[in-house]
């Protein structure tokens, strides 16, 4: 009887904590708007085959470079492909690349940071100097070099963008891990004979989750921007795959005669990245009200 009660109490407390965050987030109109845009984007990406009016890769040279019309709301590109359909399909690639790249960065960065912060001393020193080296090269240049060496493909693009994001998670988690390792619940875990791996996975990492989530939201925005930049330079997603950055790159040659080829894909990137940044900011404020000024 008592055991059941305790469990209920714990569950109630958890729910109220999440509820508290949600309550604060709900008051932030901009963050809610950002969240709605992201949700909408997910819906568009998932239902792309149903939502896109045309096949994104259907070439029809008779209707190339057309401006907006009722048949093609955002016009057609230099191969007569429907731009709206290509933007809708492109949302899949952008979201996929953004989330997988952040996943790579957060997992590797998180583990390295947790190890460094938990063990301290020499191991920490080695890991952090390695991160300093990665941070010494501007992110986009590091990503370009990695893609340049590995070759252009979707996987390599995600790996390159992911690796260039590793240091920010490593530093973040390290700082939290350092403050956590001296806490009583870690000592308690050690006292009952928990291994280091178990302490890191069960005690340290779950307690760093809040800053990781905030950083990841902002990280997805940064990753989408980096991936689109690489595709724009011809080092990311290759044509004819519909991807926003490479659409812009192709549209660039027609800036004078058909500017709509360049306007819409860029607008799509800007809206998504803005939404993620606004939401990330709001999430940070509601997870840690102390930071709010």
């Amino acid at each position: 009887m008592i055991a059941v009660n305790e469990r209920t109490v714990i569950r109630d407390k958890k729910r109220s904590q999440l509820g508290e965050v949600w309550r604060r987030l709900r008051r932030n109109k901009a963050a809610l708007l950002g969240m709605s845009v992201i949700v909408l984007l997910f819906v568009v990406a998932v239902f792309a085959p149903l939502l896109a009016p045309y096949d994104p890769n259907r070439i029809d040279m008779k209707i190339r470079l057309q401006a907006s019309s009722s048949a093609h709301p955002l016009g057609t590109d230099n191969f007569g492909r429907d731009i709206l359909s290509r933007i809708i399909w492109g949302s899949r690639i952008s979201l996929y690349v953004g989330f997988v790249a952040v996943g790579i960065g957060a997992v590797f960065g998180g583990i390295l940071g947790a190890i460094g912060g938990f063990y301290g001393k020499r191991i920490d020193n080695v890991i952090m100097r390695l991160m300093d080296v990665l941070l010494a090269v501007p992110q986009i240049i590091l990503a370009i070099a990695i893609v340049g060496v590995l070759g252009t493909s979707l996987t390599n693009l995600m790996v390159a963008v992911g690796i260039s994001q590793v240091p920010r998670y490593a530093r973040l988690v390290r700082a939290s891990a350092m403050s956590l390792r001296g806490q009583e619940f870690v000592e308690a875990a050690r006292a009952i004979g928990a291994s280091d791996v178990r302490i890191i996975l069960e005690n340290i990492l779950p307690n760093c989750m809040a800053p990781i989530i905030v950083q990841s939201t902002l990280g997805v925005a940064a990753a989408i921007l980096s991936a689109a930049s690489l595709s724009f330079l011809g080092l990311g997603i290759q044509p004819p795959t519909p991807e926003w950055g490479s659409m812009l790159s192709a549209g660039r040659q027609f800036l004078r005669s058909a500017p709509h080829l360049s306007i819409y894909p860029g607008l799509a990137i800007a809206i998504v990245v803005l939404a993620l940044n606004v939401f990330g900011d709001g999430l940070r404020d509601s997870l840690d009200p102390k930071l709010r000024q």
Binding site: V133, V149, G266
Partner: protein
């Protein structure tokens, strides 16, 4: 002070060594043998072997790195596979364009970003605050290659007052400078806002006001000077990273700088140039961070006192 600067320079050396090892290693991971790439697909087996011997490619990788490092310290970064010119020469030729672009953009970013953040903070929770905060967030989110194309469309095609590409006159630098400045400006504006908001609530500002000091004096002597400290740090750190943006800006506006050289080199697998280019970027980031740290000490007497 000099001791402090020397100490910071000493800290830069291991980082640069690390970057050189990292880049050297990553490039050796590349599929394909540099000798094969240099001679093309039609080359004979013996010629490739001969070139490998000449380039030292059949020696252990540690020895290869040792030779590379020794040469690099004497200013020799090898020769470009494409043009056969010394890499150092190619980099030096293109350095002025990049540094001009980078410098003018940081100046612009500070000139616009700092006042924008000040306005937002001093008029907190008004329309001005919302407007400048939104501008900052938008600036942070707009892809710079898109901003470049849109500005080009606006000022070179619709209202043709500025050249769309090339390098030479100040007019050519206007659009690229603006494009490169946008993100840094946004970060500076946001940082300034939160920093000023914190400072105007400090006791010493209240004391200054209570003493009857004119508002303008309080603003410039007490608020601006203190707000600049974190702003300079963030601007510097971020600037180092926004240096990466020159890769995009130079490509869009056809500016013959290091960024474009690097992109071209990656596309044509000209690895010695890639290696040298990335080292130069790392060196620039390191030097910028060093300058920021020194500036910081000048702005904040508490730090200067530590290193007397």
């Amino acid at each position: 002070m000099i001791r402090y600067i020397l100490k910071r320079i000493a800290l830069l050396i291991p980082i640069l060594l690390g970057v050189s090892i990292l880049i050297f290693g990553v490039i050796r991971l590349a599929p394909g043998d540099p000798a094969e790439v240099m001679l093309g697909p039609t080359a004979e087996r013996e010629d490739i072997e001969l070139l490998r011997e000449k380039l030292g490619l059949n020696r252990p990788i540690v020895v290869q790195y040792g030779i590379f490092l020794k040469n690099a310290l004497q200013g020799d970064l090898g020769r470009s596979i494409k043009t056969n010119n010394p890499v150092t020469e190619e980099l030096l030729q293109r350095f002025p364009a990049t540094i001009t672009l980078a410098f003018s953009s940081i100046v612009l970013a500070l000139l616009v970003g700092f006042p924008l953040g000040m306005i937002a903070a001093l008029k907190q929770n008004t329309v001005w605050d919302a407007l400048s905060s939104f501008l900052a967030l938008a600036g942070f989110s707009i892809p710079n290659f898109w901003a470049g194309l849109m500005l080009m469309l606006l000022f070179s095609i619709v209202v043709p007052i500025l050249p769309s590409s090339g390098y030479g006159s100040w007019k050519h630098m206007v659009l690229p400078t603006v494009v490169l400045a946008i993100q840094t400006m946004a970060v500076i504006a946001r940082m300034t806002r939160s920093s000023v908001l914190e400072i105007i609530r400090q006791d010493y500002v209240r004391t200054a006001r209570a003493k009857g000091i004119a508002n303008k004096l309080v603003l410039f002597r007490h608020i601006v000077r203190n707000a600049l400290i974190p702003v300079v740090t963030i601007a510097g750190l971020y600037f180092g990273h926004s240096l990466g943006g020159v890769v995009i800006t130079e490509t869009i506006f056809s500016i013959p700088g290091i960024g474009r050289l690097l992109v071209d080199a990656i596309r044509s697998q000209d690895y010695p140039v890639v290696q040298g280019g990335i080292l130069v970027f790392a060196l620039c980031v390191g030097v910028v961070n060093l300058v920021v740290d020194v500036l910081y000490a000048f702005l904040d007497p508490r730090i200067k006192a530590q290193y007397r």
